[in-house]
Amino acid sequence: MTPSAGESPRAEPGGSPPAVRTRGLFKRFGPQVAVAGVDLMVPRGSFAGLVGPNGAGKTTTLSMITGLLRPDAGSAEVGGADVWRDPVAVKSQVGVLPEGLRLFERLSGRELLSYNGQIRGIPKDEVARRAEELLKVMDLAGAADKLVVDYSTGMRKKIGLAAALLHNPKVLFLDEPFEGVDPVSASTLVEVLRRYTASGSTIIFSSHVMELVERLCDWVSVMNQGHIVAQGPLDEVRGANTLNETILDLVGARGNGEEGLSWLGSSSA
């Protein structure tokens, strides 16, 4: 096991490889093609948003890049190392907050962090020190000795993020980190994430809250129906419009809320 706090063993040539790059990533579930050849590129040090409507393939793509789901075809690289061929180089560098957030329910928050650090080979005392700081920053110190099964959604997201950060990864993958999180917890999460990218680390997060993506991200990748339909620095992708309008144009959906529902609202009898 590689001590995760250490430097990357890989020498970086002049044009250092992007934080994440996939080529032709493809996944099919039965008859349904979930991801149909995704070429995702995220430069180092960016705060990247992966956006798109429900069912666009965001979660599937992130699962394949993090090595939790085997792609049918294509390749994924993190920091220049292939996820599936060179797991030793990749796994110590990535932190993940997956969708659904299934955690070890019968451990307390503190035990969960401690377990996470120790299976990665970080010395016990160091794990305890980092866990204590993370619990404090995430405002979980009071609930640290409660079982995760009794945590609320927001608390689960925060303990999940703490677990993902514990080994100081270079690249952080977050799947819908703000969904179901109250505004106070959300601003805590944002603050921690901003501080993390400021140091040169990379975040890729999926979301369908466009305002949030516009506020946080400097890079966006837009997915629709298993493809990347636009990708680049935020300002280039959205141009003069808001991100929300850009995406509605790209995805080709315009609201049809005008027809029907004429009875809805208090003006009708």
Partner: protein, 518 residues
């Protein structure tokens, strides 16, 4: 109102069956079981006519009481709060407690089991009643008995509904299931130990206990058929009304009381943590020991293993002169070791959807091997002391304290063999444990076959690999048990090396298999 609730219940049953073959089969099996129980019960209880009157009454009283107990306990065991029974689901509708009680009463009367109960009770009327008045009183008694069963069952579920909805309450009830199953073995045990040589005396003893309970009175009233019978029926009616009043008032309170499931206690920081060294091995072992203690499924399995061996200790030594002490001590301990060990046949299922967290950290087969070693260590840390206690108890009951030593050594060897086999089974045939415990399914929908195959293969392989270890000891070569532990260590090591080399490339598939929605 009542009719509306009955329709709701039928609609829920129908909706539950839609598009799921397994559930449909399950429902058909339930229906068949109810029909068999109903008509079989009817036939058997009507046969009471042929028994001597005093025996018939005693059987009737015990039977009525048993039925009431089953009605009260069964919904709790099945975690039971189906939607028509959970007052919280109905709290937002504009209903008075009285309307709700009527509705829920009607809903719970609709279904195969209430009808089966009525059939059994009608059979008892045929079997017990002597003469016309007895039959007439009997019909009233049957109606009252059914009402008693339903009202008592509803009152208990409503009273406990807060508890049933909280995580802690369900954890406790899971243990209750094992206790109920073990307690149901008690009469069996008593009879086999010779306390019930005289079955008649046993029966009348039991009957005298339940004589003045409401179900006992209802049964007695049928057989009596006179003024005493009428008085008893009246008494049962009063009890039913009283229970109904209690139920309606708890219902009123249950509708406006908040869910307590979010108020949770803290866990103690662990002393064990200090004993286990840091690093991956200690972390995994520590996590597993905590899971064994905190997760209801784990506790159930261990309690069942201990319970079964305890029952065996007493039954196996029933006729002590026939069997040598070493063997009668060895049998229960090996059984306990096997039952504990077989729980490790789906190691990753216990982690469930959380397995990704470990998988994300493991970057070689070596890491997975360490993980498996940690899990084996955890089971051994808890299992070997339990086996030691069982061995000592079995040896003492068999009257040969020294027999504890070979029994413990052999049991430990067997446990280690089971752990080695379990590691391989865990990577080859992983499946999801369902979130909610129930007695009939141990796997997520659609994975029943994998679960069954997994535990069968693991059991057969364990037994086959354990033969060279257990058989010589059984045949009297007790010194072989010394080699048994070493043999077990070998199998456990081989098992986890093999499992890690098969399992590491399969990790994404294993995660998918243990994370199914259930």
């Amino acid at each position: 109102m009542a009719w509306l609730f009955v329709r709701l219940k039928l609609r829920l049953i129908a909706g539950n069956l839609r598009g799921d073959a397994v559930r449909r089969i399950g429902f058909v099996v339930t229906l068949i079981a109810a029909v068999v129980a109903g008509f079989g019960g009817l036939a058997l209880t009507s046969l009471l006519r042929l028994a001597p009157p005093d025996v018939a009454v005693q059987v009737g009283m015990v039977l009525f009481t048993l039925l009431a107990v089953v009605w009260i306990v069964a919904p709790l065991m099945a975690f039971g709060v189906d939607e028509t029974l959970d007052p919280a689901r109905l709290a937002l509708f504009p209903l008075t407690p009285r309307q709700m009680a009527t509705g829920m009463f009607a809903a719970s009367a609709a279904g195969p089991w209430p009808l089966a109960s009525i059939l059994i009770l009608l059979g008892a009327v045929m079997g017990l009643a002597r003469g016309l008045t007895g039959a007439l009183i009997g019909l009233v008694a049957v109606v009252l008995q059914v009402a008693l069963c339903m009202v008592a069952s509803r009152a208990v579920t409503t009273g406990l509904s807060r508890l049933l909805r909280s995580r802690r309450g369900r954890d406790l009830l899971a243990l209750g299931v094992v206790v109920v199953i073990l307690v149901s073995q008690l009469p069996n045990l008593l009879l086999s130990r010779g306390y019930g040589d005289d079955a008649r005396a046993f029966l009348s003893g039991l009957a005298s206990v339940v004589r003045w309970g409401p179900p006992g009175m209802a049964a007695h009233a049928i057989a009596d058929g006179g003024l005493v019978g009428l008085a008893e029926v009246a008494a049962v009616a009063v009890v039913v009304l009283l229970l109904a009043w209690v139920w309606i008032s708890t219902l009123g309170r249950a509708m406006v009381t908040a869910d307590s499931s979010t108020q949770a206690g803290s866990v103690r920081r662990d002393r064990l943590e200090a004993l286990l060294s840091g690093g991956p091995l200690g972390a995994v072992a520590g996590k597993q020991v905590k899971y064994l203690r905190r997760e209801p499924r784990g506790r159930m399995g261990w309690l069942a293993a201990i319970g079964v061996s305890a029952v065996l200790i007493f039954t196996a030594t029933g006729d002590a002169e026939a069997v040598p002490a070493v063997m009668s001590a060895l049998g229960p301990v090996c059984m306990g070791a096997l039952l504990i060990g077989l729980q490790s046949a789906n190691l990753f299922g216990g982690d469930g959807g959380a397995l990704w967290m470990s998988a994300l950290a493991y970057s070689s087969g070596r890491d997975l091997r360490t993980d498996l070693a940690g899990r084996q260590l955890a089971v051994a840390l808890v299992g070997v002391p339990i086996l030691a206690v069982l061995s000592l108890a079995a040896a003492l009951v068999a009257g040969e304290p020294l027999a504890a030593v070979p029994a413990l050594l052999t049991g430990t060897g067997l446990l280690l063999v089971a752990l080695g086999v379990g590691a391989v089974a865990s990577v080859l045939m992983p499946y999801t444990f369902p979130d909610r415990l129930n007695a009939f399914s141990s796997a997520a929908p659609g994975q029943g076959a994998v679960a069954f195959a997994g535990s069968m293969v693991a059991m057969i392989a364990t037994v086959a690999l354990a033969v060279p270890l257990v058989l010589p000891v059984f045949l009297g070569l007790t010194w072989v048990s010394v080699l048994g532990v070493a043999y077990g260590f070998g199998i456990a090591l081989g098992g986890r090396v093999l499992a890690a080399s098969i399992g590491y490339p399969r990790l994404p598939e294993i995660i998918a298999a243990v994370s199914r929605p259930a």
